[in-house]
Structures are given as structure tokens and as C-alpha cells.
């Protein structure tokens, strides 16, 4: 029996990207079937697919102890390549094909305003939570605040300011919580916050900023909105890394004298 399975495992592992295409395809099919027949179309198929993805990621994390979800299982390592930055960015840029310039220009100003508001508000909320939990040094407060921006802004800010490694780990966890919440909650809250047009998507991308959260959240809501949200969100992490260790840290230091 084992002898029969071994060659199969070898094929699945060495052709891991192809395996990933097949696994994701099956996941999509299951999700869209569930969406249509069980939820009667109330929950979008892609929202279910993303949720299944997150559950798989959790299971993978528990069994392997790794950081890449289900992609840490050797046979499914192709999931990491398929969902990694390279193919993800290629696909997201492709969604811009057919976007009208006028719509981008109309949402532009509010998009920029949302970006700066989103970054400062996230730092403020994250920093306030850190303060409430007893952190009194500006470095830790700013780093955890950065984590509330994105899971990249947190550690980059922490590294720039020389934060301790447990504080950096907390900021990464805060950023991951944010990304996952945005992924899962967006399709359910979209209607009540008016997220149904390109301009709103640009505001959403700027305020939320977390790339993976925005991209998956919008994909689960209405794939047509994806390029608009991505357009603003793509500036968020870079700006956050720029403002965090400089302007934000300076403000935090003014409020909390070391």
C-alpha cells in the first residue's frame, strides 16, 4: 500500500504548484456550491473559499508548527508559491486592466486622506491598547501601534527603534489579527458602510491598509472593487514604515515622556 502511495506523493510534492492549482480549484468548487445551495447566494462563494483557506491555514499551523499555514505541509508547499507575493502581485496588477482613469482620479483625494488617517488612527488605537496593558515606553507603544497598522509596519518600526523581540512578536500578532478580521468581516459589513463603488473601495483600501486583508476582503465582497482598494492599500505599508519610526514615534514621545 505504502509502495503504491509513494510515487503519488512524489508527484504531488515535486509538482507542488500544479497541486496547488488543483486543490484551490476544488476548494473554489466546493465553496461556490455551498454558496449557491446552502446559503442561497447570501454568502459569496469567494468569501466561503477564503474562510476555508484560513481554516486550512490554521490546521496547517497546528500540525507543522510553521508560519506559512497549510503551505508548510510539503505536498501543499505550492500554496505558498501560488498565494505568495510574486503571483499575487501579478494577478492584482492584472485586475487593473479595464479600470477607468477617471474613477481613480475621482477617488484619489479621499484615498490619500484615508491613507494618512488610517495610518495615524491605527498607531493611536494600537498604542492606546499597549498603554492600557501597562507599556510605558515610547518604543514599545509605537511598535505595537505599528502592528495595528500592518504586520509589516510593526516589526519594521520595532527594528528601527530597537524594540525587544517579544514586543515585535506581539506587533506581528496584532497585524495578523487585523488582516484576518478584515478578510472575514468585510463581505458582511460592506453594505452597512456603503462599500459598493470604486470611490468607497479606495477609501477602504487607504483606511485598512493591510494588503492581504484588503485584497481578500474586497475579493469576497465584489471582485470588481479589488483594483481600486489595492491602489491605495499598496501605499499604506510603505508610508507606515516611513512614518512609524519618525513622525509617530516623535508624537508618542511628546505624549509619554520617557
Amino acid at each position: 500500500m505504502i509502495d503504491l502511495l509513494l510515487p503519488v506523493e512524489k508527484v504531488l510534492t515535486s509538482y507542488s504548484l500544479v497541486t496547488a492549482f488543483a486543490v484551490v480549484g476544488v476548494t473554489m468548487w466546493i465553496s461556490y456550491t455551498l454558496s449557491e445551495h446552502v446559503t442561497k447566494g447570501r454568502i459569496h462563494g469567494s468569501a466561503i473559499a477564503i474562510l476555508i483557506g484560513l481554516i486550512l491555514a490554521y490546521i496547517g499551523g497546528i500540525f507543522t508548527g510553521g508560519k506559512q499555514g497549510i503551505a508548510d505541509v510539503p505536498m501543499l508547499s505550492g500554496m505558498g508559491l501560488m498565494g505568495g507575493a510574486m503571483l499575487r502581485d501579478l494577478a492584482i496588477v492584472a485586475t487593473a486592466f479595464g479600470v477607468r482613469m477617471t474613477e481613480l482620479r475621482e477617488g484619489g483625494l479621499m484615498g490619500v486622506l484615508s491613507l494618512f488617517t488610517g495610518i495615524f488612527v491605527s498607531f493611536a488605537v494600537g498604542g492606546a491598547v499597549a498603554y492600557a496593558f501597562g507599556y510605558r515606553d515610547a518604543v514599545s507603544i509605537t511598535t505595537i501601534g505599528g502592528g495595528a497598522a500592518t504586520y509589516i509596519v510593526g516589526p519594521v518600526t520595532g527594528a528601527g527603534l530597537g524594540a525587544s523581540s517579544d514586543v515585535v512578536a506581539l506587533s506581528v500578532a496584532a497585524g495578523l489579527v487585523k488582516a484576518i478580521l478584515v478578510m472575514t468581516l468585510t463581505p458582511f459589513l460592506a453594505k452597512s458602510i456603503g462599500l459598493d463603488n470604486p470611490r468607497a473601495a479606495m477609501i477602504f483600501g487607504g483606511l485598512m491598509g493591510t494588503n492581504s486583508g484588503v485584497m481578500a476582503g474586497l475579493a469576497a465582497t465584489d471582485p470588481k472593487l479589488v483594483p481600486y482598494g489595492a491602489m491605495t492599500a499598496t501605499f499604506y505599508t510603505g508610508l507606515g514604515c516611513l512614518l512609524g519610526p519618525s513622525v509617530v514615534f516623535f508624537i508618542v514621545k511628546l505624549i509619554i515622556p520617557a
Binding site: 486550512l56 492584482i92 489579527v177 475579493a219 471582485p223 508610508l239
Partner: protein, 124 residues
């Protein structure tokens, strides 16, 4: 040819990411600022130019639109390779920092969307 479309898309992404990195380096951060956004603009401008001059063939377009259509599955693969265990093991403080930020931002999205609409109505 289909590959022409994919090549235009790839070049847009590569140039955009390089420009984003350059922008980051100029302001002194080791991060990419808006690379994907710049790439999107490059793709919009270049395909628009080719369309206007009548040189964007259907097969070329399919080399771009395939990747756009594969976007949702790619995002599903991305969500399956997230560090969900890491997010859930961060403790109360990390969860609260992330969740409160999300809650406030969702509220702000609603507010900003309405603000924008109000202005639009005043103008027209």
C-alpha cells in the same frame, strides 16, 4: 500573441516594484512604497495607448485578463498560507490591538464614504 499581454503585465509589475523600492530608498525606508499601484497605472496607460492606436489584439488581451481572472483563487491560496495560528496565539493584548483598530477603521470607512457623497451632492 498571448505572451505579449503577459509580458506587458510582467514589465509593468517589475518597473512598478522597482520604482516603489526606489521611492522607499529616496525617503530612507527599506520598503516598497506603492509599487503595485505604480504598476497598475503603467498597465492602464500602456494598454490604453495600444488600444487607441489599434494595436491591442484580442489574444494579447487574453494574456492579461487570464491573470486578472485567476485573482480570487490566488487570494484563496494566500489565505491558506497565512499564519493564522500566530494570530490566535498572540494573547489578549495583540488581539485587542488588532481588533479595535479594525473596528475603528470600519467606522471611519462608513463616515468617509458618506462625507464624499455629501460633497458630491453639494457640487452637483
Amino acid at each position: 500573441m498571448t505572451i505579449y499581454g503577459t509580458a506587458i503585465l510582467s514589465l509593468s509589475l517589475l518597473i512598478g516594484l522597482a520604482a516603489g523600492r526606489l521611492l522607499g530608498a529616496l525617503v530612507g525606508v527599506d520598503a516598497d512604497i506603492g509599487g503595485v499601484g505604480i504598476a497598475m497605472l503603467l498597465l492602464i496607460f500602456s494598454t490604453d495607448y495600444l488600444k487607441r492606436t489599434g494595436r491591442l489584439q484580442v489574444s494579447t488581451e487574453s494574456g492579461i485578463s487570464f491573470w486578472g481572472a485567476i485573482y480570487v483563487p490566488v487570494v484563496v491560496a494566500m489565505s491558506a498560507s497565512q499564519n493564522v495560528r500566530g494570530a490566535l496565539s498572540g494573547g489578549v493584548m495583540a488581539t485587542l490591538a488588532g481588533a479595535l483598530g479594525v473596528a475603528v477603521c470600519f467606522g471611519l470607512v462608513g463616515l468617509f464614504v458618506r462625507l464624499g457623497r455629501g460633497k458630491e451632492k453639494e457640487e452637483s
